[in-house]
Amino acid sequence: MGIADSIRFYLASQYLAWKTAISYRFSFVLWLIYSTFSEIYAVIAITVIYTVSSGIAGWSYYQMLLLSAAATMVLGAIYYHIESRMVVNKMRNGGYDGLFSKPYGLVTIMLSTSGGTTEISGFVSGLLVFAYSAIKLRLPLESVLVYLAVFGIGTFALLLFVLMLTALTYLLFKSSSFMNNFLGFLSTAASYPINIYGPVFSLLFTVVVPIGIATYYPAGMIFGKISPGAIAIVIVLSVLVGAISYKLFYAIMKHYSSGGG
């Protein structure tokens, strides 16, 4: 199966996911609202922080808004493709048994059929705040485009990392609670510059749990806090994280046996 077939499978899966989600209208609308809530939450928190204080040294109000919006976008993109709670439950109930027999790569199947449709509103609300902050900061279009390119690479690497970690969690705990908590933690951590967490956590958020490669470093680049050389390293690191996660995912899935037997 070629890339075109994989894309067709992805789009058909999205269509089905949307049809299913919309069938419970009340729940669907509430989830859409809930997904936008994390961004509203972040905007209120940052606004109050910058009202009562000078905020975080070296970061203006709009820079912080842009960073937290980027974090919401990353998490929105991840949840849209991999809703870890659903993945673990689906693995436990044998929900993937039929899907894994389809002639597509495991990663394609997982990313096509494991997402939370309503998380799109989280991504969109993040994008709106991002655009608003970029306008207020008068960022040149080319800077925004470069940012989005680095952000895209980082987000894809992180998506593969989360996919790998979700599979590992299933293998180790058979429980979704770890990933739920982990992603909640990541969401808070990524909304602020990772250097405030001290050298150990900064390193952790760059290499071990690479949230920084999708949020902090691209933002640091357009605000001139990080040199282009460092960004080149971050891009290489993103590719490495993505490739290692991809390989590890397949290695973990060799030990996969569904709850369905």
């Binding site: 809930y34 609670s177 933690f185």
Partner: protein
């Protein structure tokens, strides 16, 4: 009143929680990490602002504030609506409803069983730790007020949870609603920052809502950063809220339980 069955509900919840020890410990660990992140963030804000105090809170006060909030969060859970949603989803709500016990009370005690474990393993030890490192000398008034506030907060959270839970009888899937409610409680109740960091007008409005008593008021009482008159006002307004919410919950339950009857045919 069948006390034995309610005690049984508590015991069952505790056993269910302990059956997934790793899950339980991981939950506690991540709650702690969330507090740690808040401490890092507020340290950066204080260092960035180069002031010793923001709205009456010094940096050590903020550390203590989040520590106490962490302890309080261990008992302010939203277990009850999740229990109701599960019962509706697996159809067991009809079976439970027909048992000769007060169903809402049974649900309350099931949720309480889960919370009791958190209170004993997390809440109380952390409060003792916070008290030890703060060297705070709590007056008899502060201790009494703190206990009353926590009890009121627990009752309010339980009633709000029950109210949301009754919606599962109509809409089935209510996880999103539970999550939204919890985020509102955290933001408006002082889980993200002390409420006196908000502009004065908003702060006064927030103190009129039932959420302030959940985290901010008890934490501020513990730290001694809130006046006695505000404490008394909060307790009074929260009692009114509790009565109002109980009234709404009774009406909602009387309507919702008809849906159980119709489901049984």
């Amino acid at each position: 009143m069948n006390v034995g069955s309610y005690l049984g509900a508590i015991e069952m919840s505790i056993k269910a929680d302990l059956a997934y020890k790793a899950d339980y410990l991981l939950n506690l660990f991540f709650k702690f990490l969330q507090v740690l992140l808040l401490i890092f963030i507020w340290t950066a804000i204080y260092l960035g602002t180069k002031v010793s105090s923001i709205r009456g809170f010094t940096l050590p006060d903020i550390y203590l504030y989040f520590l106490v909030v962490y302890a309080l969060r261990s008992l302010m859970n939203m277990n009850l609506p999740y229990e109701m949603e599960d019962l509706v989803l697996d159809g067991n709500i009809a079976v439970n409803y027909t048992r000769p016990v007060n169903f809402p009370l049974q649900l309350f005690f099931m949720g309480f069983g889960e919370d009791l474990l958190s209170i004993l393993l997390t809440g109380i030890p952390i409060l003792i730790f916070a008290l030890a490192i703060s060297h705070a000398m709590l007056s008899a008034f502060s201790i009494a007020a703190f206990v009353i506030e926590v009890l009121l907060a627990y009752a309010i959270i339980s009633v709000i949870g029950f109210l949301i839970g009754t919606m599962s009888l109509k809409f089935v899937y209510i996880s999103s609603l539970i999550n939204i409610t919890w985020l509102i409680v955290l933001l408006l109740g002082g889980g993200v920052m002390p409420l006196n960091f908000f502009p004065a007008t908003i702060q006064h409005m927030l103190l009129m809502l039932p959420f302030a008593i959940v985290l901010y008021v008890p934490a501020a009482t513990f730290l001694g950063t809130i006046s006695n008159s505000t404490i008394l006002f909060s307790i009074g307004i929260s009692t009114v809220w509790l009565v109002v919410l109980l009234g709404i919950a009774t009406v909602a339950w009387n309507r919702a339980r008809k849906l159980i009857a119709s489901a049984r045919g």
